[in-house]
Symmetry: C2
Subunit: 76 residues, 2 copies
């Protein structure tokens, strides 16, 4: 069954937020580590933007996980 | 160790091409299934563009894999 793009980025945002909070990082901490703005982190977590693969890699590096782990969540 | 964004998208392109060829699809077939152009498929496979998460989801749907599988390759 095809996955909805919109649903996927909503779940991605929730998953990024969960990993960030588990690591004890604020949105500002993550933003600083990625070289993006705190506003952009918030918009990714709220699925307001369709981010790129390179930004995913920066987020993964900052969260100390592999990029594929950012996409590893139950598909609803 | 941090992953290079550029190296990552090169490996992603190679991985997408491998899955596409394994499924016996041409670039044009994949493009048609994703609603993108054949040129865009070629540019993703050659890492000439930094694609978005939504496009990854469309490619995953067309290749009948989960999005996380597109990012699942050895990191060199």
């Amino acid at each position: 069954m095809d996955i909805s793009e919109d649903t996927f980025i909503v779940n991605l945002g929730i998953h990024v937020r969960q990993i960030r909070e588990k690591k004890g990082l604020s949105q500002q901490d993550l933003a600083d580590d990625c070289g993006i703005t705190q506003n952009q982190v918030g918009r990714i977590e709220r699925a307001e933007i369709n981010t790129t693969v390179k930004t995913l890699v920066r987020i993964a590096n900052a969260l100390d996980v592999e990029p594929k782990e950012l996409l590893d969540f139950p598909l609803k």
